[in-house]
């Protein structure tokens, strides 16, 4: 017995470090996948250029002289395609991280910023701007500002309602669903009174699209997503502990209500910043964390960043398909993610283990 003891311990440690190594490997593979797919995505479009030319054009800006490119390729890559590719990466990452965080803090595999009424609040804000021309900020930021502000208002309302009854997953989800129906009804009312071209614009906005991307918007989304993701990752252990139940989390030293509210606000902020520019892009926030959880497991230290990368891959792939499948017609990416997301979700639903839910 005593001889076997230490050997077994080292085997256990070895087993665990392989377990962790597998997760790190998955993250690295996703990163490599994103770089490769980004290169491919930037080559696809009406003007044909090769992946090598794309990478050369990108690197030429950073290392002038070392890499050769032409004005034409430089313009296509930098002014037309690259910001859209990066927008897909950061928007996908943000939505997926927000979804993973929501599922963790609400202990509900069906939770996402969308089930908490956030998307319908954004749609209402956008509709109000498009149909009534009313909003908190004017000019070109009218729709964006409205979508953002209503999204944050919705999550603060959910928090306020839940606070009244105690911040538990159940109260937050119920409050979120109530808010979702309220904003959906108000959007429908606006559509009912709106002119047909305005309604068309609202519908188009709600489908979600990366067509409105620009370098400024990429900058904002990237900044918010990266900062909030790092903050959420900082609370990984607390989110892990919440998964074991509120009482256990408290007994492990977690300030349960603070962590739940703070992380929900971070997830809402990411979602608001992304969908105010893109419109509502569904399913990334729901499906990407599920795919990732199947590979890396439930430890949020790895789940959050890995979900982000998987989300980036999915949205980039969906946008690339949406751009090219019926070219020159570009499908809204929100439709494409749902087409890719729904079959996968049903597949997950059918093969989930009996103890899962």
């Amino acid at each position: 017995m005593s001889k076997e003891g230490p050997v077994e311990s080292s085997e256990l440690k070895e087993e665990y470090s392989q377990f962790v190594g597998k997760k790190v490997l998955f993250i690295l593979l996703c990163l490599a996948g994103i770089v490769a797919l980004a290169g491919i995505a930037a080559t696809l479009g009406s003007a044909s250029i090769t992946p090598t030319e794309v990478y050369a054009a990108i690197l030429a800006r950073f290392f002038p002289g070392t890499f050769e490119t032409t004005n034409f390729i430089d313009t296509i890559v930098w002014q037309l395609r690259l910001h859209r590719v990066l927008m897909a990466i950061f928007a996908g990452m943000g939505l997926a991280v927000a979804g993973a965080a929501m599922q963790g803090i609400l202990k509900n595999p069906l939770a996402s910023p969308f089930t908490l009424g956030i998307a319908s609040a954004a749609s209402f804000g956008a509709s109000l701007a498009i149909i009534m021309g009313a909003g908190f900020v004017g000019g070109q930021w009218l729709i964006v500002g409205n979508a953002f502000i209503f999204t944050m208002l919705a999550s603060i309302t959910v928090y306020g309602l839940a606070r009244y009854k105690g911040i538990t997953p159940e109260t937050m989800i119920l409050a979120g669903i109530a808010i979702m129906y309220l904003f959906s009804a108000m959007t429908s009312l606006l559509q009912y009174v709106g002119k047909s071209e305005q309604v068309h614009e609202v519908v188009f906005w709600m489908m979600g699209s990366l067509g409105r991307s620009s370098w400024d918007k990429v900058g904002i989304i990237a900044l918010v997503t990266v900062v909030c993701t790092l903050l959420l990752m900082y609370y990984s252990w607390d989110i892990n502990a919440l998964g074991a139940g509120d009482e256990t989390a408290k007994s492990l030293g977690v300030n349960v209500e603070f962590v739940r509210v703070f992380c929900m606000m971070l997830a809402s902020l990411i979602t608001a910043s992304v969908i105010c520019f893109t419109g509502t892009i569904g399913f990334i926030g729901l499906v990407a964390p599920h795919i990732t959880r199947m590979v890396v497991g439930g430890d949020h230290r790895f789940l959050l960043p890995a979900s982000g990368l998987v989300g980036a891959l999915i949205l980039l792939a969906a946008d690339t398909v949406a751009r090219t499948i019926f070219a020159p017609v570009i499908l809204p990416v929100g439709i494409m993610t749902a087409f890719l997301g729904v079959p996968f979700f049903i597949y997950l639903f059918l093969r989930r283990r009996k103890d899962y839910w």
């Binding site: 311990s9 256990l12 440690k13 665990y16 377990f19 009482e247 256990t248 030293g253």
Partner: protein
């Protein structure tokens, strides 16, 4: 030294008083059991001690530190909590579940010391063969051992157990309590547990507290406390207390109606 001193502890849900002016002291290296009927306040008392619920009154830890003045993390280093049951919706492995017990001690990174501690506890509770299995796939007895291992990873001075035997068969009940008792006797840790089974409580406890309607009805040596009179008074059950083994054992005979009390 004294582990926990509880003075004038009261707790109410709204206007319903669950705990009413409790005064008890938990000493070093003892198994301290709370018995009483459903609703007598056993679980509530456990939760108040771990500040999962916020009671009125004073709880002093570690020779005089007021529970209310400590941070959650400080409490987590002193008290390990083993919940009655845990329903984990999202997947987590046994190893990660036990590693969570290091939360009060570690930062974001997991150190070798944390891993060593987890491995040590897994071996102590004999759960090493499930290390990378999903927690939800385990049987009730295995889950219980994993949760005890997690609480011990906190390196606590006090282990709180909320009905540790409620989901277990006879063999696993004995094994779980053997484990708790041997840990308590080998180390300086004390265990405070809420338990339904009077015979198990008598066999494994150093001190028994009988709770009724949120008050301490009797406290002391289980040998002295387990009498037919006490059981009738607390549970409203007529029982025979047999003393032909080295420990008393209770055979419940029939439930008494309200008037017979």
């Amino acid at each position: 030294m004294v582990k926990i001193t509880i003075k004038d502890l009261s707790f109410s849900y709204g206007s319903r008083k669950i705990l009413d002016d409790l005064n008890v002291v938990v000493g070093d290296s003892e198994v301290f059991s709370l018995v009483g009927p459903n609703g007598s306040g056993k679980t509530t008392m456990i939760k108040c001690i771990d500040r999962i619920l916020k009671p009125k009154g004073t709880i002093l830890l570690d020779g005089g530190k007021d529970l209310q003045s400590l941070s959650r993390q400080e409490v987590a280093r002193y008290i390990g909590y083993v919940p009655q049951s845990t329903t984990s919706v999202l997947t987590t492995t046994v190893f990660d579940t036990i590693l969570m017990g290091r939360k009060p001690h570690m930062g974001w990174r997991v150190t070798d010391e944390d891993i060593d501690r987890v491995v040590e506890m897994m071996k102590l509770l004999h759960v090493e063969e499930f290390a990378l299995k999903d927690f939800s796939e385990l049987s009730g007895g295995q889950k219980q051992r994993v949760l005890i291992a997690r609480a011990l990873c906190q390196e606590p001075e006090v282990l709180l157990l909320d009905e540790p035997t409620s989901n277990l068969d006879v063999k696993h009940q004995l094994e779980a309590l053997d484990t708790v008792r041997s840990i308590v006797k080998k180390t300086d840790i004390s265990a405070v547990m809420a338990i339904h089974d009077l015979n198990l409580a008598a066999r494994y406890s150093d001190t028994l507290v009988m709770l009724k309607d949120g008050k301490v009805h009797a406290i002391g040596d289980p040998l002295a406390l387990l009498t037919e009179e006490n059981i009738r008074c607390i549970f409203g059950v007529e029982a025979a207390v047999m003393r032909d083994l080295d420990r008393p054992y209770v055979v419940p005979l029939r439930s008494l109606s309200g008037e017979a009390l």
